[in-house]
Point group: C2
Chain length 155, copies 2
DNA sequence: ATAAATAATGATAACTGTTATTAAAATTAG
DNA sequence: CTAATTTTAATAACAGTTATCATTATTTAT
């Protein structure tokens, strides 16, 4: 039996107002404004529960913390390689790729998870400017490349 | 300048012989047979380096450790929801989904990462038998559902 | 409305997978 | 062969998340 909790309701309401797919940490910081004593564990516990109940969706990312989405209608996500932002893409169905995959696989393909990546509108327009987010995945990678690898002799 | 190391070569050779996309831990256990003193950190360091050099591919999974693939030719991956196995799918290109996404997005879609899921050939054929892998994601989820949630009153 | 039963909470410890640190060993250049 | 530089093994630290548990909140039964 699941019992009501105001913390859980607050988390769900918070998510339904947002479209930026916040992390558990960000949700925690925000719910604290209403419930200053809430603990991070409670946030994680309720996010998992809500996702299991199908009331929210968990977005696993390649690196960094999971993100959460209050919008459970089917849609895709875009990850900006410059600013790290996550955006919704409401596009036509591409479920036919399941059929394509199934034709080449000995087993049954039931579904897929697809993440798109590239540059978001804002980063695309600021491409040539010096105003580049210095905490972005992009600029971190740039920095790394400068300092290190030239060309391997072996391998 | 990158210098040769036998540990790195051994890791690369190990991966090129496999098609089961092992984790860093499994690679570590196997390389230890040849280099008993190798440390897990060395395995991680070289896997990251090889992936950066484009000599292997890292496969990030929704939960659990990353997996690694010695096959760098473009192909897709299938995740069995019963046994947890990861399999290759060599299918026709679905790069047109980038164009579809791009048409619905203010920004530039450069690529996608797609994971397929369902039942692998073996799990599909054993579907009705009692012989189900009791450590699988599937059976763990089943167990959880038995013990807990009935139906929420609120929310 | 009150008491008993049960689930959720906050505080915190523990855990998993991974990355960083560092002195010593291996590799390469001169 | 020696010096310079990279890689290593050992280990600590880290991020994100899950588990533990006594107390509090919610629900059920009386």
């Amino acid at each position: 039996m699941i019992k009501y909790s105001r913390q859980r309701e607050s988390i769900k309401n918070f998510l339904s107002d947002r479209c930026d797919h916040p992390t558990a940490e960000i949700i925690y910081e925000n719910i604290r404004k209403e419930y200053p004593n809430i603990s991070l564990g409670t946030v994680y516990r309720n996010l998992s529960l809500l996702a299991e109940l199908g009331e929210i969706k968990k977005i696993s990312t390649d690196s960094g913390p999971d993100r959460f989405d209050g919008n459970i209608r089917p849609h895709y996500h875009f990850f900006c390689r410059n600013c790290g932002g996550v955006f919704d893409i409401n596009m036509e169905s591409i479920n036919h790729i399941n059929t394509i995959a199934d034709a080449s696989f000995h087993g049954s393909v039931e579904g897929h998870i697809t993440h798109f990546y590239g540059l978001c509108a804002e980063c695309l327009h600021n491409k040539d400017s010096a105003c580049i987010n210095s905490n972005s995945p992009e600029s971190i990678k740039k920095e790394k490349n400068e300092n290190s690898i030239d060309k391997p002799n072996h391998i």
